[in-house]
Subunit: 273 residues, 2 copies
């Protein structure tokens, strides 16, 4: 099977930075999984004794605490600081920015709207910096809100710009002033554009990434629009040989939290089919 890789794929700036921080700080704990990729988490635990701890009260002061790429809630960060934990902040700078915006806009009296997934750690973190913030997944959610005439709006970094524009359009129509912050990460765009382009040229598309990774799922959704045979795999073990019957060219891309070593394994296995 011929394999073509997308022009842009895989680890983004923030994830590269976070894994380097984890490798440089052996025997640490991360508060929640450092990134959305179980295999890489496992590699960091085995190779560097960096463990993931969901419960903040179970952290030990004897070890460093690494804050995950998606960031954490403001009160949790304050707790760690007040309790004098040794904190290493691996929050992606593209996530720190919307946290700061949420806090500033809230202080200036704007209603804060966050376009994203209410249950996503990044969104929970950003939301916690505003005195009051509304999380919406689209226009239908907005319609239910009673907003003031002055609204600030932020997007989860991994959302599609086209969907964000539906939200901002609604707000422009219905509010006197809106402050729109384009907090969508370019790395996400670049990977998405490259998938859309590649999926047009191939018989089958394989997206490599965590099944709970928001941006990986979006890559799959974009690929599916251009190529009927698009699949998501976490690693080479998820590949099914019947997918490839009668196909000649396979496109490969990977989510922003997928490490190169996993992608390489998947590619090697597809080439052998």
């Amino acid at each position: 099977m011929e394999v073509r890789l997308a022009e842009n794929y895989g680890f983004c700036f923030g994830v590269k930075r976070a894994t380097k921080l984890a490798e440089a700080n052996k025997n640490s704990s991360t508060l929640g999984p450092l990134i959305h990729n179980p295999k890489e988490i496992e590699r960091l635990e085995k190779g560097y004794n960096v463990k993931s701890q969901e419960d903040i009260t179970k952290l030990s002061k004897a070890e460093n605490v690494i804050i995950r790429t998606h960031g954490i809630e403001k009160d949790k960060k304050e707790y760690l600081e007040n309790e004098n934990f040794a904190v290493i902040d691996a929050t992606c700078p593209f996530v720190t920015k919307p946290q700061e915006i949420a806090e500033k806009m809230s202080d200036e009296g704007y209603d804060v709207v966050i376009f994203g997934d209410n249950s996503h750690p990044e969104v929970k973190g950003v939301k916690s910096y505003a005195k009051k913030a509304f999380v919406v997944s689209g226009v239908e959610d907005l319609k239910k809100l009673k907003l003031s005439e002055r609204v600030a709006v932020i997007s989860q970094t991994t959302r599609k710009i086209e969907n964000y524009l539906l939200v901002t359009d609604y707000l422009v129509k219905n509010c006197r002033e809106i402050r729109v912050f384009n907090t969508i990460c370019n790395a996400t765009f670049d990977n998405q554009d490259a998938v859309s382009k590649l999926a047009k040229e191939v018989d089958i598309m394989i997206i490599v990434g965590g099944k709970n990774s928001s941006n990986t799922k979006q890559l799959l959704s974009i690929a599916s629009k251009e190529c009927d045979f698009s699949y998501l795999v976490e690693d080479e073990k998820d590949l099914k040989s019947e997918w490839f019957k009668g196909k000649n060219v396979c496109g490969v891309s990977a989510g922003a939290s997928t490490p190169d070593w996993i992608i390489d394994n998947v590619v090697d296995n597809i080439r052998k089919i």
Copy 2:
């Protein structure tokens, strides 16, 4: 001929206010035409001796100076104040607002973008309140600009929201922060919605208004989409009997600067056809 009037048409709040101010201040001069309707200007001149003067240096201090509904440039207003003219400000409050926004955003370091017609007096006035402002008529104009990452955007009051959204969408995509002010006037919306609805139900549409009135021309454009036989008239003299051959029902609407007495004359004449 049966005549149906649109649910909303004609004089808006700002124009009603301006003509009342003119009637209450006989023997005044307006700096430029008070509103965009030559017939109403003529009526105010004949009935109240309110004259239109384009040249600011030819105004006399012996009489009141009325500022037109569309507003004037900041330097002209300052000149009138510094020279101690008796000024009556008939600027529509919905135009004063974007002037204030342009000044404030410019002071706060934002690039100011105005969506509108560069040659329209309202836009010239609003623009003059910013240290630097870019007037754009659409996305093509925006593409030529080198904008900073922080942009404030204002619309001419009579623009269509759908077109404004094309401008704001482009800015959201290309700037880190944009402040969108919805400065479009509801009166314009209401008249436009009513024309669109009425034009679907009739055989012919007549829009009454000044041929240089921006919002009157937009009503004609909206009517034309729904009804192939849509015409703009300034008064009953512009009506042509051949337009009405084979037609049974005529819809009528009027621009925001068209006085009721002109609309009544037009309707009376159509009924007689």
